[in-house]
Amino acid sequence: MHTELHNEKRLLSGDEAVARGAWEAGLKVAAAYPGTPSTEILETLATFPDVDAQWSVNEKVAYEVAYGAAIGGARALTACKHVGLNVAMDPLMTSAYTGINAGLVVVVADDPGLHSSQNEQDTRWVGLYGKLPILEPSDPAEALEFTKLAFELSEQFDTPVLLRLTTRVAHSKQDVSVGVRVAGPHKAFRVEATKYVMVPRNAGPRHAVVEARLLKLRECAEQSPLNRVELRDRRLGFVTSGVSYLYVREMFPEASVLKLGFSYPFCDEKIRAFAAQVQELVVVEELDPFIETHLLALGLKLRAKHPSFQIGELRPEFIPAIVRGEEKQAKPFPARKPVLCPGCAHRAVFTVLRDLKLVVAGDIGCYTLGAAPPLASVHTCLCMGSGFTIHEGFRRAHVHGDRVVGVVGDSTFVHSGITGLINAVYNRVKGVLLILDNGTTAMTGAQHHPATGKTIREEPTQKLVLEDLCRACGADHVDVVDAMDTGAFRRTLEQRLQDDALSVIIARSPCWQLVRTRNAPPDFRREQCQQCYECLEIDCPALTKVEDGMIQIDPARCTGCNLCVDRCAYEALLPIREEPDADSCPGTCG
């Protein structure tokens, strides 16, 4: 599958290029939890038979597995999105103290513009905060190259290295020259408590090692060709990094540029020298004023973006306004809102939660889409695993009584929802917790997790049985219901809301994208329709109101789930019963 041709050109995404670069660098162990826009890194690594790749339970677990592999002697990598790194911050911060043994590369993909995220945090601050070096590629070709360099840097300085991507690097594609795999190091673990056992007596001296290492890394950054001075017209000199570099080159091809590829610690001397060679210094960076703050601390006179550009991603056409110091004027293109797929079982659950007028503590996954009107039945979304714990907080606030439920998905429950369940049991909270079990990590594109019983390579493994786990945690009742059976689900939910108990209801039905079962669309009888539009309240993309006020069913999108039929009180929508037919999709869509 992976040919050994050197310099063969391929069209690779930034994620695929990171995977390829890591493989070429002799990577042995890779672990991650899915998270847009980083997911494809592990998906690609899993296609290399000589890499031990896994979907981990969460990012903290992934980080520790990769760290263990690195100090255990093999090159290792973990990858996550920006908010995923928050979950792994505990091991990350102290791994800066212990250092590694064989190389450890921590790939983190930020999401400026919030294409698929709950916040817009800028991970470069983690370099400053954690005292770790950052490499920041501008495109897929650099992503491949920088990944290889990151392993060398990691071993040279005995430190984890942050490889920071953004959506426009991770999910852009480019012609990339690929190379061959080298054998990675094979470095036996040496028992060295002062290095690897971080008790206060050992960690104090290791902090000194961290500070000394940071000074050496600064010297390295000064010399690094990744921090590149491009002198052209000297009237304007840009300091920039990541994809912003390409926007600057696009819009000001004649200007001078200092491109920071090794972007932390800063190469102060190189920056000062560059500043002295240009008439006007302009900093262009996405999100936070990371470079700007440092250059101002150096006492340099510069022009930086108006604070309005800290919100959202940059685009090439923004650069002239940034140079002029103007406020951001661009209006975003109106985007069609994402919706649950036709046939999605989450829709069935949310119609019931809405009908019962419950306050719903939600979580992160496809089911977060239930927050949008007209479903409007997810009322919080904070972070992974928070559905159950926020539910507990609502209960303890005693304002909404028992009309509150907590909702998490199956993958999210295993990721970090389970601790909330154990906490609720231990601290004797009552209530109803829902696990929306569609048998996959759906939002990121259907990845396996412990409760699917398959590994990242589709190999069978021990399957985590969610109902057994919930019972073992001590829930008073654990019901498993068919999520598409709204009647049964509603009856179970109403019963459990009345019980003086802590109940878990697992609403189970496979993700439609996995099964693609189609039945005939329901029959619409115009003469029966009273134009109450109750059917539209389920927010199904296959169902629309047309110009004459009637309902139209798009037969190409309708899956025949008949959820709309249940909503119609006038028999204007009637099911057509027939044997289900597996979708004959030729796989031509993207």
């Binding site: 391929r10 069209l11 847009t36 480019q174 685009r315 293109f333 069609r336 649950l340 797929c341 889409l369």
Partner: protein, 163 residues
């Protein structure tokens, strides 16, 4: 081979095959030995939401996103989605909303709309038929004959606008 940069914006709704079309066009440009950049987002927006992919190729390309006002072609799969990008089209650029009626006229199955629109696009780009067909075969593993047939239909049908 001309070396100027070609800028194509593919847009539509999740599930229409927008990203696949951009991928195949990118593979064709790669086969022609050109420098290629392509930008899109995956994830939440694909759940029936707006989907757009920027494709740029030429001798040297910098930004993965096409600067506003420099788009040569808007390959729209959906009229409304295509309309909202009209302002970023460069003067004299081609907007595929005008070709969307052809899909109905030829009775194109929604699953093959992307193939047909690629066929139409191929008429405007300096990439050979051989290169296109090779990229198509690389991009569509399934139903290769049907994809080839529909691509050629798009590449050869009367567009009705003298093009």
């Amino acid at each position: 081979m001309e070396t100027r940069t070609h800028n194509i914006l593919f847009c539509g709704v999740g599930g229409q095959g927008v990203l696949k079309a951009a991928e195949i066009c990118g593979l064709a440009a790669l086969r022609a030995g050109l420098h290629v950049r392509k930008a899109e987002v995956h994830g939440m927006s694909q759940r029936g939401g707006s989907v757009e992919s920027h494709l740029r190729f030429g001798a040297e390309v910098f930004a993965p996103l096409i600067p506003a006002g420099q788009v040569d072609f808007i390959v729209s799969f959906d009229r409304t989605e295509g309309e909202k990008f009209r302002d970023v089209l460069k003067p004299g650029g081609v907007h595929f909303n005008r070709y969307l009626p052809l899909l109905r006229r030829h009775g194109i199955d929604p699953r093959f709309e992307n193939t047909f629109l690629l066929g139409v696009l191929s008429r405007f780009l300096p990439l050979s038929r051989e290169i296109w067909l090779a990229a198509l075969a690389q991009g569509f593993v399934r139903a290769p004959e049907e994809n080839r047939r529909i691509f050629l239909l798009g590449a050869e049908t009367d567009l009705g606008d003298g093009t």
